[in-house]
């Protein structure tokens, strides 16, 4: 459990910035008149979690324990499924599966890719 306490006490600036943004599906969907209860990326997030579990990189029990821990600490004020996404990124950073600098750079690259016309 001490590993999860440490997990819960850690904060990543990159994820903290996202946490405080008001871009959750709960907020955006009504604004655009969208009735789908889930954002389009949710299925992909689930698939990522399953792939990590099956490959052994992040076993499901450990991921769920970390999600629970973070749901009551770092991301207590974030709704689902954004909270699950933040918890997954947080757990992967904490385990060294990805680095914060890689993640930050990749996010910038992806945004420019998606916004390219």
């Amino acid at each position: 459990m001490s590993e999860n306490k440490e997990l819960a006490n850690t904060r990543y600036a990159l994820l903290e910035a996202l946490r405080s943004e008001d871009q959750t599906w709960n907020t955006l969907a009504p604004r655009y008149g969208v009735t789908n209860p889930n954002p389009p990326w949710k299925t992909s997030l689930i698939a990522t979690c399953e792939c990590l579990a099956v490959s052994g990189a992040l076993p499901v029990l450990e991921r769920r324990a970390a999600e629970d821990e973070l749901a009551e600490s770092a991301y207590a004020d974030v709704p689902e499924p954004e909270r699950q996404l933040l918890a997954l990124a947080h757990t992967m950073l904490s385990r060294g599966l990805i680095s914060e600098s890689d993640l930050s750079a990749r996010m910038r690259a992806i945004r420019s890719r998606l916004e390219a016309v």
């Binding site: 579990a53 099956v54 490959s55 052994g56 076993p59 499901v60 029990l61 450990e62």
Partner: protein
């Protein structure tokens, strides 16, 4: 890949099941060594074997990728009155699963 291996075909038999359906058992109150899926709320409680389910790795090993010990699992039925002091409905029950190592015969 260990976790996936534990899922598919059932592992080799762990020997004969110690308990049978209808047996009265008590959930041991063992210390939590690193990891367990045996809930605190059933520790020390007496219930009845409702089903002998399957044989598989015990969670204490599975969670840490150790070479696993295989055990018989059971579904144990408890009266809610026996789990929670003052529970007001006589008929209500709760079932939970447990590997064999957490159970001992109850002679009540």
């Amino acid at each position: 890949m260990r976790e996936s291996e534990s899922r598919g075909t059932p592992p080799a038999a762990a020997g004969k099941a110690r308990f049978k359906v209808g047996d009265r058992v008590r959930v041991k109150d063992l210390p939590n060594l690193f990891y367990s899926r045996t809930q605190m709320y059933v520790r020390g409680a007496v219930g009845t074997i409702a089903a002998c389910t399957y044989q598989d790795l015990i969670p204490e090993d599975e969670a840490f990728n150790r070479d696993g010990r295989i055990e018989q699992y059971y579904i144990v039925r408890f009266r809610q009155k026996d789990l929670w002091p003052g529970y007001p409905f006589d008929n209500d029950t709760l079932q939970t699963e447990s590997p064999e190592r957490w159970l001992e015969p109850a002679d009540d």
